[in-house]
């Protein structure tokens, strides 16, 4: 599947150009890509729901706008798909869970509204780890997503469908969500670009919560420029989300041209230690050398807390599961979604939740409930928040001397399907270089920088200070330009 493109334009940028010049219609593009999804999805399983009717209707509306010479949005005619964690009005939104199998939201997430306003074509909803909990996209009520680069391997998670759809040419751009690495890890495993914005950069309204203080919606695309364009469309303050920031949205596309000359890039020593597979290290170092060659200066930095798995992974799994245990209380069989009828209210709750949630989700609900319980709160939740503060300080200190940090996304490339399913702790360690970024709230990207000895994609993680997405994009664009295969 070296070239899955079903039309000449490889990028959203090229496609928008073609539609604006009426080289082809949105309907043509949409029909082609829907047919491609039909052909490839049985193998990849990236889509949970394909909205053919909705997509074609949107395409026709776009074509009418073009024909009428009306003002066109920045994503005019671009086929986009959404992680099934984003609410879409009238289109079922499952979170890859049995418990929301039949849930049809009556409203659009803010990012979905912005995509529609930008004249994008929404193709459907993408597979993922149930409630975004997982690192392989195998924890899905709808079956595992398979890596288009090697179908015996995982896509990474939790936004596996979002990465796989872009890699397989089933969409030019997708949205995912990143709570502990859920955009960056699958982007790395599938060889596409994936960006986790600063916490507060993108409205979470309509993003079904896993861990509210960590969740952030992020774009996937084949290129850094497309990623930048999509970020520009979805970013910005939203009065419906109190945690969305009042920070102006810059021209991210322009930032892609900026280069890295004069930037200081730090390499956290803790992220290059034991456990990092050597071919992953080689590929990452290759990316870093490109940056150096283009004028960046490279230095080592230390993240004693953020880089220490005993702190970062532990704090992450306490805070994320604590919030999740509360966020997922609403799935009780009373109002919407799956219900298992029972004689008493308490039995209905127990049976609905026992049968409606998958094993990993139940594990995390139990962990989080425990961490918040009277008598344990201080030892777990409070302690984890203190660690979180130290992690933030680690990054603050690093960004005093660096413009960016560079590291691998994960210690290994995509692993085999089923390989870590029975070993949650091994699975959790896939996120060893990514979770601290969410705890600190800073932005990060995964940009392809090479392949493993087995030919699997490897991503370079670039991290910036809060709201420094432009700097991240400028460096990622350099890596992409020099290393694009």
């Amino acid at each position: 599947m070296a070239d899955d493109s079903v039309f000449s334009a490889q990028t959203a940028r090229g496609l928008v150009h073609g539609i604006r010049r009426e080289k082809y219609t949105a309907r043509e593009i949409t029909e082609k890509i829907l047919a491609h999804i039909q052909n490839t999805n049985p193998d990849i399983n990236a889509f949970i729901t394909v909205d053919e009717a909705g997509a074609l209707e949107a395409a026709d509306a776009v074509d009418q706008k073009v024909a009428a010479g009306q003002a066109l949005g920045p994503l005019v005619g671009v086929p986009i798909a959404l992680k099934d964690v984003l609410c879409t009005k009238g289109l079922r939104t499952t979170c890859a869970s049995k418990i929301l199998d039949n849930f049809v939201p009556p409203y659009d997430a803010t990012v979905v509204t912005r995509l529609r306003q930008a004249d994008a074509i929404i193709l459907g909803k993408l597979n993922m780890d149930e409630f975004a909990m997982g690192s392989s996209s195998e924890n899905s009520h709808f079956g595992a997503v398979k890596n288009p680069r090697d179908q015996t391997r995982v896509t990474g998670g939790s936004s596996g469908g979002s990465a796989a759809a872009v890699a397989a040419g089933q969409a030019l751009m997708t949205l995912g969500s990143d709570t502990g690495g859920s955009v960056r890890l699958p982007a790395s495993f599938c060889g596409v670009v994936g960006l986790k914005p600063t916490y507060g950069r993108v409205s979470r309204y309509g993003l079904i919560a896993y861990a509210s203080s960590l969740d952030q919606i992020g774009p996937f695309a084949r290129t850094v420029e497309d990623t930048a364009t999509l970020l520009g469309v979805i970013a910005g303050h939203d009065p419906r989300d109190s945690t969305s920031a009042h920070v102006p949205v810059p021209d991210y596309l322009l930032a892609c041209q900026r280069g890295v000359d004069g930037l200081t890039i730090g390499l956290p020593t803790e992220f290059f230690g034991a456990g990092l597979q050597s071919d992953v290290r080689d590929a990452v170092m290759q990316g870093i050398e490109v940056l150096e060659k283009n004028g960046a200066s490279i230095r080592e930095v230390s993240l004693p807390t953020a880089g220490h798995p005993a702190f970062a992974i532990a704090a992450y799994y306490i805070i994320a599961t604590a919030e999740a245990s509360s966020n997922l209380s609403r799935y009780d069989g009373v109002k919407y979604g799956f219900r298992d009828e029972a004689e008493s209210l308490i039995d209905m709750y127990v049976q609905t939740r026992s049968k409606g949630f998958g094993a990993e989700v139940k594990r995390r609900i139990m962990l989080g409930t425990y961490a918040l319980s009277a008598g344990y709160y201080d030892a777990y939740y409070r302690k984890a928040q203190q660690v979180r503060t130290l992690i933030r300080r680690d990054f603050d200190r690093a960004f005093e001397s660096c413009d960016l940090l560079a590291s691998p996304v994960s210690p290994t490339p995509a692993f085999k399907l089923g390989e870590k399913l029975d070993d949650p702790l091994q699975m959790y360690l896939s996120d060893i270089y990514t979770v601290s970024v969410n705890l600190a709230g800073i932005p990060g990207i995964s940009v392809p920088c090479g392949t493993s000895t087995e030919g699997l994609p490897i991503g370079l993680q670039l991290l910036g200070n809060a709201f420094a997405e432009e700097t991240i994009l400028s460096a990622a664009a350099v890596v992409e330009r020099e290393l694009a295969s």
């Binding site: 609410c87 939201p105 009556p106 309509g206 009065p239 509360s326 609403r330 009780d332």
Partner: protein
């Protein structure tokens, strides 16, 4: 042994905002079930709360009126529990712990004490929270074995006013609740409509032998909806605790529900069964930061409070203590009174009218003074007509009733109905001559010294003139004619 009781109250008051605390839905009472809802208050997946600034301002207003300190930074927490009328599976509420402050702390409310003075009931805190929905069971339209949920009330803004355990008797509790209610309504923070559940009370009650300083085991009485019921529930709980101790029993920490129809308390749950709410800061809401300028602005919007008004009325107006109580009990009534006085009526006359006829109409019709069709200015005009002798007091009552119905001015009604008092000597002469001619026996007896018959003649006169005769003028003329 003699015991004393120690009582602390948690009062939940519904704020008078037009919209809910975390979304733009109407907070109005009585709509069709599940019509005032949106993704936020329905707790739909992905929806997020946004704090209504009006709720904060109203909570600050009552807090400042009660002398509380506004915390510069406070947070909302999640109180987690499962219940069908709690769509999110948690209630968003402020909470007080070592790290998390509620909106307001400290302050106090004065109540009359047993010795005739006043006693200050200290407040622990005032915090904001959202209401839950309503479960409906056992109604005619609910099928057997089923329950229905109305989510309209979800997200209706509440404040919880928590007192220190400073209350010693059920009478003090009643006074405290009355004062709090008055303060809430005065400041416009709550409509205080008890029938709509605008105030709901939880009472923590314990007893201890007189002289003991250690607090006894407390029992919480939940969700009482009237002040009288609260008083009665506390009385019966105190008696239950005394009886228990006197018979060698031990008080168990528990939560009770009060059944006002049977005047009994029944246990809801004991300590062992108490819920672990797993409070933690709501990550969907940013900390609430209140600066001193905001506090000052809200402070400046607080109207004159009842205590201050009472003192001022006593100084400024020639009215009785009883009238001061009646007039200041309701801010709108007080304003009405002052508007009438400003329109040129003597304060005592205005007070008499308001305490009498105006309050009678308000009570009979169960309306607020704002709904009365008689403006303070028109009332002043009516009183002025009596004062000038244009109409009698009894005519004035008739005119007032007409004003209540029509909203017309008193002059217009007097004009329309031809009610101007007859003071014209010529006109009265004729009528009186006729009465004298028609009642020779009574005239004889009067002349014989039966002064009581004066009333009889005046009655005849008023009947003949439909009450329009000027009584002073008429009695003077009559005496001349019969004297």
């Amino acid at each position: 042994m003699t015991y004393e009781s120690v009582i602390g109250l948690e009062v939940h008051a519904q704020l008078a905002t037009t919209t809910k605390i975390f979304c733009g839905c109407s907070a109005e009472f009585g709509a069709d079930p599940n019509t005032h809802v949106c993704p936020v208050c329905l707790g739909l997946p992905g929806a997020l709360p946004v704090l209504n600034q009006n709720v904060v301002e109203m909570a600050m207003r009552i807090a400042l009126a009660a002398g509380c300190t506004i915390q510069p930074r406070s947070r909302f927490l999640r109180k987690n529990y499962f219940y069908p009328d709690l769509p999110k599976g948690y209630q968003i509420s402020q909470f007080q712990s070592n790290e998390e402050m509620p909106l307001a702390t400290g302050g106090g409310v004065d109540v009359p004490s047993a010795d005739g003075g006043t006693k200050t009931i200290r407040l622990t805190r005032i915090h904001m929270e959202e209401d839950a929905g309503k479960s409906i069971h056992q109604e005619a339209f609910v099928a057997a074995g089923e329950s229905l949920v109305d989510v309209n009330r979800c997200g209706v803004p509440l404040i919880e006013i928590v007192s220190e355990p400073d209350l010693s008797t059920s009478e003090e509790v009643f006074h405290y609740l009355t004062s709090l209610h008055q303060l809430l309504v005065y400041t416009g923070v709550s409509e205080g409509d008890m029938e709509k559940g605008h105030m709901r009370i939880d009472a923590n009650v314990s007893i201890r032998p007189v002289g003991e300083t250690q607090l006894g085991t407390k029992v919480e009485i939940k969700n009482v909806n009237s002040f009288r019921n609260c008083q009665r529930a506390i009385e019966s709980e105190i008696q239950r605790q005394i009886d228990l101790l006197e018979t060698g029993g031990e008080i168990e920490q528990a939560t009770m529900l009060y059944d006002p129809d049977r005047n009994i308390l029944r246990a809801m749950r004991t300590k062992e069964e108490s819920d672990d709410y797993r409070y933690f800061p709501d990550p969907d809401l940013v900390p609430l930061v209140v600066d001193s300028a905001w506090v000052a602005r809200v402070q400046s919007q607080i109207p004159e409070l009842p205590e201050v008004k009472r003192v001022r009325f006593a100084e400024d107006y020639d009215i009785s203590a009883d009238q001061i109580d009646v007039l200041t009990a309701d801010r709108d009534v007080a304003d009405y009174f002052e508007a009438a006085v400003a329109a040129g009526v003597q304060s005592r006359l205005a007070a008499n009218w308001i305490q009498g006829d105006v309050m009678r109409v308000l009570n009979d019709r169960k309306i607020a003074i704002g709904d009365l069709r008689v403006s303070a200015e028109d009332l002043a005009e009516l009183i002025g007509l009596v004062d000038k002798g244009d109409i009698s007091t009894s005519i004035a009552r008739t005119v007032f009733d007409d004003m209540v119905e029509t909203g017309d001015s008193p002059a217009a009604i007097v004009e329309k109905k031809g009610l101007v008092q007859i003071s014209d000597t010529g006109e009265l002469d004729g009528v009186l001559d006729q009465i004298i001619a028609d009642n020779p026996k009574e005239v004889e007896r009067f002349k014989g010294g039966d002064q009581k018959l004066m009333g009889f003649f005046m009655g005849q006169l008023m009947r003949a003139t439909k009450g329009q005769a000027n009584p002073q003028k008429a009695s003077q003329l009559l005496r001349e004619k019969l004297g």
